[in-house]
């Protein structure tokens, strides 16, 4: 049985249909990458997994339990099993790095200060940033901020880590550092990873399996090798990064 399951999930915002009957199962321990154009609903899918959004129709299951109808209070128990890396990190800007990483530990455990501090050290070490402990988020670069956010996401040793566009806004070198980090965590912590991205290089590097979201539905579901050789024109164009006539129509003059 899948660890996370979407059953015929529909979601719309106003008149805009974002998810239009999505069925997806994510197995424990796998590294799944969700790709799709900007605004295709990838992040919306991720937010459904932790109950930040509820589907208009359909069901979301986690570990054999339906979670889309759970009250906020009951969702808390589910959420502590997830680590979530937000697109911009979402570090608390009123706290330094140490307090940010310690936040889930302080809130959910009664560990003494010294032990919390040791875990913070260990997690910052895992993301390769032991020296930024006392810095404020505003003093960090974009890549550092994401790595600190990742240290915070793994503070409670989650079963699943959700990555929302982890390489967006980073240069290729920093992006590769994040990709390596995702692989490292996957290897060392044996977690289930779900990565939302439109960076194909990143997708090929970290994925065991790739799904593509297009017009509210899953258009492709397969291995990185299968997507490379896919003959579906939409998938092919996305993987190769080529704009089609539809995307270029607005750039052409009226006489064309």
């Amino acid at each position: 049985m899948s660890l996370i399951e979407f059953r015929n999930v529909h979601k719309r915002f106003g008149r805009q249909v974002v998810l239009n009957g999505v069925d997806l199962g994510i197995n424990e321990g796998e590294s799944l990458v969700i790709i799709g154009a900007s605004g295709s609903g990838k992040s919306v899918m991720l937010k459904h997994m932790v109950g930040l959004l509820q589907p208009d129709e359909g069901e979301v299951w986690f570990d054999g339990k339906r979670i889309d109808q759970l009250a906020e209070r009951k969702l808390m128990d589910v959420r502590v099993q997830f680590g979530f890396l937000f697109q911009m990190g979402a570090l608390f800007d009123s706290m330094n790095v140490e307090d940010n990483v310690a936040f889930p530990l302080v809130e959910h455990t009664s560990k003494p200060k010294a032990e919390v501090s040791k875990i913070v050290d260990q997690k910052l070490g895992m993301v390769g940033l032991p020296e930024v402990r006392k810095k404020m988020p505003a003093e960090l670069s974009g890549g550092q901020r994401k790595r600190v956010a990742l240290a915070r996401a793994i503070a409670l040793d989650p079963r699943v880590i959700l990555y929302d566009e982890p390489t967006t806004g980073l240069d290729p070198i920093r992006s590769d550092v994040i990709n390596e980090l995702i692989l490292k965590l996957q290897r060392e912590l044996k977690v289930t990873s779900v990565v939302v991205t439109h960076d194909m290089q990143s997708a090929f590097k970290v994925a065991d399996r790739i799904v593509m979201l297009h017009e509210g539905k899953l258009m492709f579901d397969g291995t990185p090798e299968q997507i490379r050789t896919s003959e579906n024109p939409v998938v092919k164009r996305f993987v190769q990064g080529e704009a089609g006539d539809e995307e270029l129509a607005g750039l052409r003059g009226p006489s064309a």
Binding site: L52, E72, M76, D77, R79, F86, A90, L91, R152
Partner: protein, 275 residues
């Protein structure tokens, strides 16, 4: 055309009702967590920074406004009272106005601007940068972590700041009335306490300050939590927070004036400061 207007009115009405329902749920959850959260000693540590932010940092602005209002009232009313030979009763009028109406209302309005704006901006920024979602994802209810401490700080500290503003307003009025306008000191205070200010008036001002503080805290946090995207969204949340808090203060003040007057007359009868 007519149909479009009806549609627009209907849409707007539904939107307002939905907004009110959403706000009521927000208030309900805040009160639920206020009592449930108070049992967790760990949550108490969240209060002190808010006490500092809401209370200590508001002292200068509340002090200046309170003192100057007392002084302005003395300057503006003296000539009228002197014309009818009642200048010795100036203290009664100033002090009564300050403790009953001007002190609480102006202190609350200043707090709605300073604290309410700051709360809406802080929480609005946290909302648009997904920090509030991050709190939820980490299994912590943002109502407990962010709203309850701010609400408690507003409720507990607005009355204290009001009392402070009252004292400075009274001193401000006295400073102009006695040393500068040469009203006899004894008469100034005698008429203030005989037919002017009594415990009821002081307590009315302080009591309504609790409600003003609660309204400021809830409205500002709600606006921050529901701010629109980007800098303009946060800016709009701050403006709406101040305007809504201000309206709430004025309406609450009217309700208090009406209820308190009826209760006072029923208990003590009508007492005139010129009696």
């Amino acid at each position: 055309m007519a149909l479009a207007i009806v549609e627009r009115v209907g849409y707007r009405t539904t939107e307002i009702l939905a907004g009110f329902g959403e706000f009521s749920r927000f208030v309900g959850r805040t009160f639920l967590w206020l009592f449930a959260g108070a049992l967790r000693v760990r949550n108490w540590r969240l209060l002190m920074p808010q006490f500092y932010e809401v209370g200590v940092r508001s002292v200068p602005v509340v002090a200046v406004v309170g003192a100057f209002i007392g002084m302005v009232m003395a300057v503006e009313t003296y000539s009228q009272f002197a014309a009818i030979g009642q200048e010795s009763r100036l203290g009664a009028v100033i002090n009564l106005s300050v403790v009953k109406q001007i002190g609480p209302v102006l202190a609350a309005v200043m707090l709605a601007g300073r604290v309410g704006g700051a709360l809406a901006a802080e929480l609005g920024t946290m909302h648009v940068t997904e920090q509030i979602d991050a709190i939820r994802v980490m299994g912590v209810d943002p109502i407990v972590y962010l709203v309850v401490p701010r609400f408690v700080a507003c409720v507990l500290l607005t009355p204290i700041l009001t009392a402070y503003s009252d004292v400075l307003g009274i001193i401000g009025g006295w400073l102009i009335g006695v040393p500068f306008l040469h009203i006899p000191n004894t008469a100034y205070w005698y008429y203030s306490t005989h037919g002017g200010v009594d415990t009821w008036q002081v307590m009315e001002g302080i009591l309504k300050a609790f409600f003003f503080g609660g309204a400021i805290g809830l409205i500002s946090c709600y606006k921050g939590f529901h701010s629109g995207a980007g800098a303009s969204g946060v800016g709009r949340a701050c403006t709406e927070s101040f305007v809504s808090s201000f309206i709430a203060i004025i309406i609450l003040n009217f309700i208090f004036a009406e209820v308190s007057k009826d209760m006072y007359i029923a208990i003590y009868g009508i007492r005139s400061i010129f009696g």
